[in-house]
């Protein structure tokens, strides 16, 4: 029997932050810079892409040639320690529904491998209920967040172009990279169909912004983390400088069990189990900030029951865990015959798309209420596991390098010639759309399952509605039109009604938000407009859980802006002795 005593930290912190991703990293950065003493707890190990290097590795430096594993679902060099399934940390599903939950257990969280797509929410995105009557309006508007988007742009760096589109607000941009060849073809085709195509907006430094970070050297591998910190990850851009102030203690491998409260219902700190020694710890702080992800923060609150908070902490409204929603996703791809036998050159570019399509239509004229944006990819990528797969589906359809049509499949020198001939001609596109936040899409505590630390786990209940399915059909139709217009040949992704038009399983886009939503009405929301719990004034939630609605944008830039805004509010309230 191991020693079961609880070790209490002798040090009392001003603020304890749970989670070191976009929300937690930003809070640590802002608070530490203001001289506040912070404990930053992270459920995974330390990580810095300058030290934990997978960048610039060739596929043969992986025995599986870059293929994914259950430990690294996005490929063997991907900067995510974790995945959809983590041994000993299960989650469950309810009533035959399905939600896939991605967790990165590491300093910086999912910002280490994310797509760097850094879009501001627009004015309409905060007021969707006023526009279409569905969901709920945010308690804040674009004008409240805009100054923080500006500050985030300047602090972190994002490239893009000023386009003057009302609901796609311009930022303070670094210059974007020029489009790649396939992107020029996409732009021509899509534009002629009325689909807007503009330079992408990614948090990658095309110019130096300070002496701490280098600039992009165009290896296309942001998902592996950047050794010169030229892209945004919370670990390199926020946590590192926060630690350098001397005001932050990072406590890695700390799996938080619950938020501790006193007899007045106020937060007093957290209890956690260390994954290193499996001992129990408690840590005291004046303020507790949850930034553990929409799922984990809801789980923590629901697991933090007390006589004062019998329904879980900050949950008198009973909304915690509800209104969970992820972006919709549909993808399609093929080959572009005019790119067969193309000239070779290095077209890696930045780690992501150089062009994208913001939502370009008016939903009032459509049979679904919310929009989507389109992401594009293709070209002469570095070969990796899967290279050349399924060539029998294409090499019987087109004359090869010798101008002759031959039987599909094959082998030998002729097949080798085909791999060369078709290399660099494939491309794809994906829609990322807004789903409606619904009360009956939720996570809750599973009454009978615990993880290996004894912490009750989440159980998900999530179904797409007709709104999302109709939106997916629109993506299908649009992608097919664009590809046909380009002169492309679709080789994958065409799906009919029986497969929900290719709509991905909820959770798969990893934009889940909404579980601890903010609002002006205490009965309908868990947080106020400063991410502060209605029921517990010294408790804040600064991850995607606080979102009221997701928008058809990637959530990270808004998480960063809201976390910065909440952190400044916390500093102010601490000064006023209100918390």
């Amino acid at each position: 029997m191991p020693d079961l005593q609880i070790k209490k930290s002798s040090k009392t912190y001003d603020v304890c932050i749970v989670g070191s991703g976009a929300g937690g990293g930003m809070a640590a950065y802002v608070l530490a810079k203001a001289g506040i003493k912070v404990a930053l707890l992270e459920a995974g190990p330390l990580y810095d892409p300058a030290k934990n290097v997978t960048q610039l590795k060739f596929p043969y430096e992986s025995p599986r040639r870059g293929a994914g594993t259950s430990f690294r679902p996005f490929g063997d060099f991907d900067a995510a320690y974790g995945g959809w399934e983590i041994e000993g940390e299960p989650y469950t599903q309810k009533a035959g529904t399905k939600f896939d939950w991605f967790r990165s257990r590491m300093v910086g969280g999912r910002t280490n491998h994310w797509g760097r797509i850094s879009l501001r929410f627009g004015p309409n995105d905060f007021k969707r209920k006023s526009i279409d009557g569905l969901g709920e309006d945010w308690p804040i508007g674009y004008e409240d967040v805009a100054p923080y988007y500006d500050k985030v742009d300047k602090l972190i760096g994002v490239f893009g172009t000023k386009e003057g589109i009302y609901n796609e607000p311009d930022g303070i941009f670094l210059p974007p990279p020029k489009p790649r060849l396939h992107e020029l073809f996409v732009k021509d085709a899509a534009t002629s169909l009325g689909v807007k195509v503009i330079p992408s907006r990614l948090s990658i430094l095309t110019q130096k912004i300070n002496d701490e970070r280098g600039k992009c050297f165009y290896c296309a591998q942001c998902n592996r983390g950047c050794t010169v910190h030229a892209d945004f990850s919370s670990s390199s851009v926020l946590v590192n400088p926060a630690v350098k102030t001397g005001n932050v203690d990072v406590i890695a491998n700390a799996m938080v069990r619950e938020v501790l409260t006193n007899e007045k219902g106020e937060a007093t700190g957290v209890s956690y189990v260390s994954k290193e020694d499996l001992q129990e710890y408690q840590l005291s702080a004046r303020v507790v900030i949850l930034a553990a992800s929409a799922g984990e923060s809801a789980r923590l609150l629901l697991n933090s029951k007390s006589s004062f908070h019998p329904n879980g902490l900050a949950n008198a409204s009973n909304v915690v865990g509800k209104y969970l929603h992820d972006s919709t996703g549909v993808a399609m791809g093929g080959v572009l015959p005019k790119l067969f036998n193309r000239k070779r050159y290095n077209e890696d570019g930045v780690g992501g798309l150089h062009l994208y399509s913001p939502w370009w239509l008016d939903n009032k004229k459509l049979n679904f209420p919310r929009g989507y944006h389109i992401e594009y990819w293709g070209g002469m990528d570095m070969p990796s596991y899967g290279f050349g797969g399924g060539i029998q589906g294409i090499n019987g359809k087109y004359p090869g390098a010798d101008g002759k049509l031959k039987a599909a499949g094959g082998y030998g020198a002729s097949l080798k010639s085909d791999y060369r001939y078709y290399y660099g001609s494939s491309f794809g596109m994906a829609g990322r759309g807004e789903a409606i936040a619904r009360e009956d899409n939720y996570c809750e505590i599973d009454p009978s399952v615990v993880d290996k630390y004894g912490i009750p786990v989440l159980r998900f209940h999530y179904k797409w509605s007709d709104y999302e399915i109709k939106q997916a059909k629109h993506m299908q139709d649009t992608f097919q039109e664009i590809i046909h217009k380009m002169g492309g040949d679709i080789t994958w992704g065409v799906k009919g009604a029986e497969e929900n038009y290719g709509l991905e399983t909820p959770g798969r886009i990893i934009h889940e938000v909404g579980t601890v939503r903010m609002g002006n009405e205490k009965k309908k929301s868990a947080l106020n407009k400063f991410n502060q719990a209605h029921d517990c004034k010294n408790l804040f939630v600064v991850d995607g859980g606080s979102f009221v609605s997701q928008a058809d944008k990637n959530p990270t830039w808004t998480i960063l802006a809201l976390s910065m805004r909440a952190s400044e509010y916390i500093i102010d309230e601490m000064k006023k002795q209100n918390i």
């Binding site: 190990p45 934990n52 290097v53 997978t54 610039l56 590795k57 060739f58 596929p59 043969y60 992986s62 025995p63 599986r64 040639r65 293929a67 594993t69 430990f71 690294r72 060099f77 041994e87 172009t161 990279p177 020029k178 489009p179 060849l181 020029l184 330079p199 095309t206 110019q207 050297f217 165009y218 290896c219 005019k338 193309r342 000239k343 070779r344 050159y345 290095n346 077209e347 890696d348 002469m380 570095m382 070969p383 990796s384 596991y385 290279f387 050349g388 797969g389 399924g390 060539i391 029998q392 039987a407 599909a408 499949g409 094959g410 030998g412 020198a413 097949l415 080798k416 791999y419 060369r420």
Partner: protein, 219 residues
């Protein structure tokens, strides 16, 4: 490739200098990763190392199966005037590893190899490896072309499709395969747009706004 094969290549004396230089590369053992040394890749987590060590210690294919695979992968990707063969690129070793890492490939490959041997037994009265090169090609021709294959060959077609895919992956992710395919990236550089001659080839140009607003590099 081992020293003996390298000398044999020299002895044939029909290869161009450029190809010879490529053929020299395997001498330095750079073609295939040294699996025993790298814990299964850079920056591995403890559970990844544990998994790698476990699957690396196992052996899946027996000697006969591996001999069959070795012949087949070199039929799929032989040496030609651009680059070496699948075995020179370490494809059989890659396939042995990948079936342990991705067990879903095990039964299709093991069963497919067995299916192939039984076909050869029926037609030539011997296992695939014992067949003459001409007989091996005759058999492969039955399963390598999905649209032309006889109905009784569909299982062989599925097997060959899988083996072709794994061979292509193994080959084109190796050092000689990457050189063959002509991938030019994975190194620090400046992306200043599509080269002018390629734009010209497609009758394209960047519009003035793109030129004005995009990132610029000092010449």
């Amino acid at each position: 490739m081992d020293r003996r094969k390298y000398l044999k290549t020299l002895a044939i004396g029909t290869v161009a200098t450029g190809v010879l230089l490529q053929s020299c590369a395997p001498e330095k053992k750079e073609e295939t990763p040294d699996l025993s040394k790298i814990n299964g890749g850079p920056d591995r987590q403890p559970n990844e190392i544990e998994h790698f060590k476990k699957v690396s210690a196992e052996k899946f294919f027996d000697a006969h199966e591996m001999a069959t695979i070795t012949i087949l992968v070199d039929i799929i990707i032989p040496k030609d005037d651009v680059s070496g063969s699948a075995t020179e690129a370490g494809v059989p070793e890659f396939i042995e590893f990948i079936v342990k890492d991705m067990p879903r490939h095990q039964t299709p490959l093991r069963g497919g190899l067995k299916w192939l041997d039984l076909q050869c037994l029926k037609h030539f009265n011997k296992a695939f490896t014992e067949c003459t090169s001409a007989q091996q090609i005759e058999m492969v021709d039955e399963i390598a072309f999905p649209d032309k294959a006889k109905p009784e060959m569909t299982q062989g077609v599925a097997f060959f499709n899988l083996l072709r895919d794994l061979t292509a992956t193994g080959f084109y992710t190796s050092k000689i395969g990457i050189a063959d395919i002509g991938y030019k990236g994975n190194k620090p550089n400046q992306w200043d747009g599509v080269p002018q001659d390629v734009l010209d080839q497609f009758g394209l140009k960047y519009d003035q706004r793109t030129l004005d607003e995009s990132v610029k590099f000092e010449a």
